[in-house]
Amino acid sequence: MPTREIEFRDAIREAMSEEMRRDQRVFLIGEEVAEYNGAYKVSRGMLDEFGPRRIIDTPISESGFAGLAIGAAMYGLRPIVEFMSWSFSLVAADPILNNAPKMLFMSGGQFGCPIVFRGNNGAGGQLGSTHSWCVEALYSNVPGLKIAMPSNAYDAKGLMKTAIRDDDPVFFLESERLLSLKSDVPEEEYFIPFGKAAIRREGADVTLVSWGRPVLFCMEAAETLAKEGISCEVIDGRTIRPMDWETVFASVRKTNCCVVVDQSWSFASPGSEVAAQVSQHCFDDLDHPVLRVHSDDVPAPYAQNLEQEMLPNPRKICEAVRKVTYRL
């Protein structure tokens, strides 16, 4: 299959555009998505192709337009809602948590909500604490929604196409820090199913589980650790809900050690969920309790050195791996 190197943001745009060409019910709505060409240029050019009826600029009114999109989804359209940052989704918390994931259940299966919410998630750009939310920990708790968190352009396109075709509400967590990263993406159409993790690096001594940007931190740490003779297996979960448990468990049974790397705060996070599941289902295969590496339990700071220290950076990952493999 011929491939070309494109940026993460282009991959997402391609996914949205392909789906919009195919299905007229799909439309994009959000702040600055149309005439501004996207606050982060993800939707560049889409207004020209699809027109203002399908690429819709909204006022700054997250609660309003998220609710509007959900109402449209109930009727049968397939909206893609862009939050300029997932930090702003908190303003729309009621519709996205109380309406979207619960509609199918409360209506006894009559009205679904085939909607995709997408936007930038995570810290690392010195944006200050109100703009640096990692919402996966907040929203993973809710049944009825799905969460996808790609770490590279190839995954971004495949997961986005699956998200748009999925009949359930999907929270698609991108990252401002990843938008410019390039990878090889096929020209032909492809999908990546939810609940299927990818093994980014094979190894024998420890299993690292992560999603999104922290996967890149894991890969960096794995390089460092390889020089110390520790061989890491890096698993990119790709989706948090649903989670590919089989791949994780098979890996832990092989390596007998597990470290989960999650950029959200540690208390009651997706990282703790993985740790709990691994501890339960791989109990007899563990050589050391499962360790987690999270962002420090503080609001995201502005100062660059503090922010870099706060993140689940490769240094912290290496420390955890050394602990878990008893190579202190």
Binding site: R53, G67, F111
Partner: protein, 321 residues
């Protein structure tokens, strides 16, 4: 109400008694294809839209025969066949949904079918929702995007226990709120079903043609408390009695009698018929079984979701590709 007191209905139950003219008049002015969405005081709207009382009753009883298989309850009446989009518990949450439904019908008519927008969405809310941000964001969007949605405020003067003057600015003229968004406002006597119908028919036709939003201050009154647990200490008995004289059903009955649209015997038969229907519905709902435990995991996702209580794995039960 009786059923609630018999503990057949659990949780919250917000009865519509006294406001019937609003639902009946409005729905009569709508076409079946027009979407309707409302808040949690939704029994009237459900019945008016065409839901059989037995499904409504069964839903409140929490039985599988309910319109939402017993999983929604009194506050969440949904009826896809009759274009009833709920039944929503959070005050004001249905307002953006209403805008979204209008958006969707217009999109379907104009973008997908390349025609002209031909639907109107009715979004009901209480006067309490006037203070929620969601309504204002929705009105702003509706005005901006020319959405054919009519916000019908069932203004019964109370948000739970708070009289409207205590909670809302411009309480004496709430249509001024719509004017602020460039939206036409209308005041209607909600205690007379004919008044309601005449006013709404005209408004709905106009909105259908112009694809513009509208706002209606529907003056009405609820005879009972906000919900079953409300002892109504915030108002006096005289006030309630005053409004009971205005009872919309009584008014309609009087109108029918005066104009000889039906004989007293026919009217009697109607009442009897309704009583029978209600009794049958209760019996049917009683007989309807409770949802199977399996039902707990249906409709969480479109695919079948696996049982997860914390000791097993949260995962889809369908085969993965």
């Amino acid at each position: 109400m009786q059923a609630y007191q018999d503990k057949k209905i659990g949780g919250f139950c917000h009865v519509y008694i006294g406001q019937e003219a609003v639902a009946v008049g409005c729905v009569a002015a709508l076409e079946p294809r027009d979407p309707l969405v409302t808040a949690y005081r939704d029994h009237g709207h459900a019945l008016a839209r065409g839901m059989h009382p037995k499904h409504c009753m069964a839903e409140m009883f929490g039985k599988i025969g309910g319109c939402a298989k017993g999983k929604g309850g009194s506050m969440h009446m949904f009826d896809k066949a009759n274009n009833l989009f709920g039944g929503h518990g959070i005050v004001g949450a249905q307002c953006p949904l209403g805008a979204g439904l209008a958006f969707a019908t217009k999109y379907q008519d104009e973008v997908i079918n390349s025609g002209k927008s031909d639907c109107v969405t009715l979004c009901f809310l209480g006067d309490g929702a006037l203070n929620q941000g969601a309504l204002h964001e929705a009105m702003n969007l509706a005005g901006l995007l020319d959405l054919p949605v009519i916000y019908v405020v069932e203004n019964n003067g109370y948000s739970m226990g708070t009289a409207i003057e205590r909670g809302t600015t411009m309480a004496h003229k709430i249509t001024s709120k719509a004017v602020g968004y460039g939206i036409e406002g209308l005041e209607v006597n909600g205690m007379d079903v004919v008044d309601v119908y005449v006013a709404m028919k005209d408004l709905i036709d106009r909105c259908r043609a112009t694809s513009r939003p509208a706002f209606v201050d529907m003056r009405t009154y609820r005879y009972k408390g906000h919900s079953m647990s409300d002892p109504r200490k915030y108002r006096g008995r005289e006030e309630e009695e005053r409004y009971e004289v205005e009872d919309p059903i009584g008014k309609l009955e009087k109108l029918v009698k005066d104009k000889n649209y039906a004989t007293p015997a026919e009217i009697e038969a109607i009442y009897d018929g309704v009583k029978t229907l209600v009794r049958e519905s209760i019996a049917w709902a009683d007989a309807s079984p409770v949802p199977s435990l399996d039902e707990l995991y249906h409709d969480v996702y479109v695919e079948k979701w696996g049982p997860y209580t914390g000791t097993s794995l949260p995962q889809m039960l369908t085969e993965k590709p």
